[in-house]
Homo-oligomer: 335 residues x 2
């Protein structure tokens, strides 16, 4: 086991006090050019890195942010984290990862987040029970919602305009002459899926077309059962699902029943995961720029953290939602 090099070692080797070494790292402009260079050289030679715990404790800034997600295996989470990480690196922040949904948050997880003394929180959970809201209120550091909505203007959200987006693509399919348009959503209520549904319904109603929605599980085998039953009764002209995986699952089952895609049935997904390109035919879908969302959320959080440091007494101001542009990727599952 190595002895890690400490700030004392650097100070000793450079012939200065600890304070100076610390300043070289944290306020370089306050140190004379020549001594700064000398100290820096030794820091490099010895490979010195200040202990994050000690630094965090003394400065009350940990340059660490927490990512809080309900599940890490959700299709979009990994890429979002990649976006967050790239931005975090740019600003010199390090990441802590907390995985858990509402119930875990209630129990202990949020306490762990706070105790870890992060400087800010990226919150990706979409269930906002009153209890969770309460926890958020007691949180001493800024929180940004990432691809989720905060339901209050007190917290910033970074996401796309889901309602508008679903509205527009539905309208476009109507314009192309389709009337029987199915909307496939999740059984479990997610705020963002509700928004998509609202957009779909609005477009359908504006054209006096019948709203047709099924709610299914995130579990593929349950999906298959539900979709089989549905397709035994009728075949829509267009099926639009809140997730790529559900769209593809629906498409595969319809094709097995002999309905040709896109001739008879057209299928549209949401997200543009890799699934969309690996499906056969390739899936048309709304591309959610999830990397961008993560990236932007992190950089916005750095701004809030800066303010939070400057004037912690100032009362919380309202934060608008930040919208990231989306686009539709037309592929083989539509004509």
């Amino acid at each position: 086991m190595m002895n890690q090099v400490k700030i004392y070692d650097i100070a000793g080797a450079a012939g200065v006090s600890l304070a100076t070494v610390s300043r070289v790292l944290n306020h370089p402009e306050k140190v004379k050019e020549s001594t700064r260079a000398r100290v820096l050289k030794i820091i490099k030679e010895k490979g010195y890195k200040p202990n994050a715990n000690a630094r965090g404790l003394a400065s009350r800034r940990s340059t660490t942010v927490a990512i809080v997600v309900p599940r890490i295996t959700r299709a979009s989470v990994a890429e979002m984290i990649q976006g967050i990480d790239d931005s975090a690196k740019k600003y010199g922040y390090t990441l802590r990862l907390f995985i858990g949904a509402d119930t875990e948050l209630q129990r202990d997880l949020w306490g762990d987040v706070i105790a870890s003394s992060v400087d800010g929180i990226l919150f990706m959970n979409d269930e906002m029970t009153p209890e969770t809201f309460d926890l958020l209120q007691k949180t001493p550091v800024p929180v940004v919602f990432v691809n989720a909505i905060s339901q209050t203007t007190q917290y910033a959200s970074v996401l796309i305009e889901y309602e508008k987006c679903a509205y527009e693509i539905t309208k476009e399919m109507i314009r192309r002459g389709n009337k029987k348009i199915l909307f496939i959503s999740t059984e479990h209520k997610y705020a963002v899926n509700d928004l998509k549904q609202k957009g779909y319904e609005k477009a359908m109603r504006e054209h006096d077309l019948p709203v047709d929605i099924i709610y299914s599980s995130g579990d593929l085998s349950i999906n298959e059962k539900d979709f089989n039953e549905y397709l035994d009764k009728r075949v829509p002209e267009v099926a639009m699902a809140v997730r790529d995986s559900m769209a593809i699952s629906f498409m595969n089952i319809a094709m097995k029943k002999g309905h040709r895609v896109p001739d008879v049935l057209q299928v549209i997904g949401f997200q543009n995961t890799r699934y969309a390109v690996l499906s056969n035919p390739k899936l048309t879908c709304v591309e959610i720029p999830i990397y961008e969302i993560g990236n932007k959320a992190m950089s916005f959080l750095t701004e809030l953290m800066k303010q939070n440091g400057d004037n912690s007494q100032k009362d919380k101001k309202d934060h608008p939602n930040l919208y990231v542009p989306y686009q539709v990727i037309w592929r083989e599952s539509t004509k």
Copy 2:
């Protein structure tokens, strides 16, 4: 901004010293039943959580482990992290996430890992340059390789027996009467893919069958080009790819060229991601129990961390690889 409750507040409210509060949390058996209950009650009421930085600094144990991965968006990483997290929760550990490949490790990232004073490291990177090995050697906390190989017995690896696994499935396809078996690997060298290839080659040679390997990119559009070119020349009876996504991509292209799967061409992937179930036909593949691998790696790491605390002077012992059982999931892409 809330004032976080400190250990002093608890001590004050309970009418005991800080030391006692601390003991209640860390060595409850050393505290009298009645005072323990009283302190615990107040801790709960006030929602007290010890500051992780301070605790880490004072105890030299942060109950935090680092996950180090080259990319978070790799197909298997999310599920592995889920496995790690579930185990970490059980043992009371918290996670830090460091994303970066070999070059970033060299530059700064490994230094960040060390500075964050984690108690242990879960290392998932598959490039082990001599420089990286050097960094590992200087690391003051235990390291466990997760679904990667350490190339030295000094570090434990948790993974499956890739070579054996590829050997056996190749042999099985030979037994079923196939002779033209293609192996599809990545352009970029990954140690685990080399193992798979070795197993494939061994089986082929044992039966005097010609080894046929193509190396392609992880990028799907480049894949498609490579696979198109290959298929213009010949069609194998079996194609086996190191990743599900490559297998599916190959399968889709072959089908577009009119080769029926599985009648003419059979396809096998590695991993058993969700892609495998969303493909049409559904993909046969070797299931890598990636969740289990993460889970087991974390629990093994806790053991090493315990030892590391007990006797940090003891010299490093050799650690064997820990193998997790795999299985083949036969689906529609084979007959």
